[in-house]
Amino acid sequence: MQDAITNALAIKVACDKVNVHYGDTHAIKDVSIDIQDKTVTAFIGPSGCGKSTFLRCINRMNDTIDICKVTGRIELEGDDIYDAGIDPVQLRARVGMVFQKPNPFPKSIYDNVAYGPRIHGIAAGKAELDEIVESALRKAALWNEVKDRLQSPGTGLSGGQQQRLCIARAIATAPEVLLMDEPCSALDPIATAQVEDLIHELRENYSVVIVTHSMQQAARVSQKTAFFHLGFMPEYDDTEKIFSNPSDKRTQDYITGRFG
């Protein structure tokens, strides 16, 4: 199987007939999607359509909500992530997540980034940890701004820097998939541009899934786009195709601004 991945973009996350119930609400209805490796996949759709909910299924963050029930099958490299043998703790190290609002811990910049490697025991020693932190901060395009103040609190950074710190924190555990839940919605245009550049670079190593409200953003950063509507996923295709020639009526209405 490994051989097939090398050139043609392999399938990283395979979802089959996923349903999510929040108490009595049926939030996700029969969604099946194959997310490719080394690709940015965008989830778009009107508010409340279930795109964030679905995103949270991929690293089992929905487990933290008591009333939430997920059925169907989600495979990460062929392993059913809802299998009893899969520990969400390990899964989440492989599937990182960046949230809508920057949420740095009230710790130093260094400790924020080192948090994941430390708990997972990734670094063998202090030197290796330093290396991981530096590399993550570099990948998040934050290193040059913070290299002189790694010990100052992460909460003291600007909004855009905080979000890049959170991205650095997420990639420090070397995840295979990076989930981003509207990562730019709390940022100004300049910070947004920086984060988008970053997403672009991340694609070289990761499978990135990004939920976004902004169709322009989806068009700018993604190669694949999935459109969510009322818990269904009517369309999933190449981003270019979705924005130029959608096959579903609802998608067309949405991207031409009829609703949403």
């Binding site: 490299e77 520990d87 703790v89 390990q90 492989r94 025991g121 555990t173 070397a174 295979e176």
Partner: protein, 428 residues
Amino acid sequence: MTTTTTNAGADWKSPEAAARVRKRHAGDLRLKFAGMAALGFAVLMLAILLVSLFANGYQALRQTHASVTFELSAEHIDAADPQRGNYRAIVQDAVQGLFPGIDNPGELRSAVGILSNGAQNALRSIALNDPSLIGQEVTIDVPLSDPYDQLAKGLVDRDSPEDQRRLKDADIALFDTLQARDVVSLPINWALVTNADSRFPELAGLQGAIWGSFYALLVCFVLSFPTGIAAGIYLEEFAPKNRLTDIVEININNLAAVPSVVFGLLALAVFIGWFGMPRSAPLVGGMTLALMTLPTIIIATRAALKAVPPSIREAALGVGASKHQVVLTHVLPLAMPGILTGTIIGLAQALGETAPLLLIGMNAFITEAPSSLVDSSTALPTQIFIWADSPERGFVARTSAAILVLLAFLIAMNAVAVFLRSRFERRY
């Protein structure tokens, strides 16, 4: 990108990784168990507290009595002045009658000790109530004195060496004689709430303390309730946002955390020392408790007012009502359940307050219930303190019983508060 990212996917399935995750989850369990243990400790302590109180206190809920026939002989009581009769002699005669075998004064004296001193008082009040009974025989239930009460309840180990017991073999024999005659009974001890304090455990009751606490709480309520509401309304609705208001607010918060004993010092120096108010009086106690309860009521009032949605205010202001009218006729009624809840909780705290009452002398030994706000009196918590300090064995059970009574009052008050809260919880 110069860094080499190792795709860690394979590592996660190694035995080392599995072991590591197991270890980390064990940390979850450890924390969970530590938390459970801590919570369990707290609950266990409460359970031990309550169980020990019940185990000791229930002994005092019954009191051993003996049905004894006394002759109110005219020889000992002057019908014209029953107050001054020689009731001791009457009791002695009756005891002699109970134990015909006793023939020397020393033995008789110790045999008289089997009955409580309350017997004389009971006989006196009978004679006072109905002087026509003088010269006749009356049969009444009189409480046994504390050591015999303990014996009757099985709290005295008859097999222990005689010199380690308060009751000698002869005393126990007397009691057994009584019991054999079937005159000993163990009824519910209503005296616990109908009698005032006494030096003798078998006679001591809480009536005075209950009235003292009632009067003190009444004063506390009358003073702190209107004042607290007025202050709360002013600070929440009217006060300008300035330095003075800030100072008042900080002041109230700090006052709520001042140790209660300091309020006692204040009362002692100001109310008693400077204003010359009476010591040991529920009035002064109530005033002190009012000062302590005030912050609670103010804070509760403000919280309750805050919970009233601004739309109600705006609606009323919009139809031309003045700010005062809006607050008094629209906002305050809606906030009232919350204020009452806070007030009851504040009063419940005040009911349990002991230290300030000790300092103003509400721990005096007083054998009568107070009949006014300025009579000397004790209060429930100070009575508990006095009894806890008394050496007689019987007072251990009484103290526990008194605590049960106090807790019953507290539970009742809190139940009302909980009821109010659930009944009127934000319905708008």
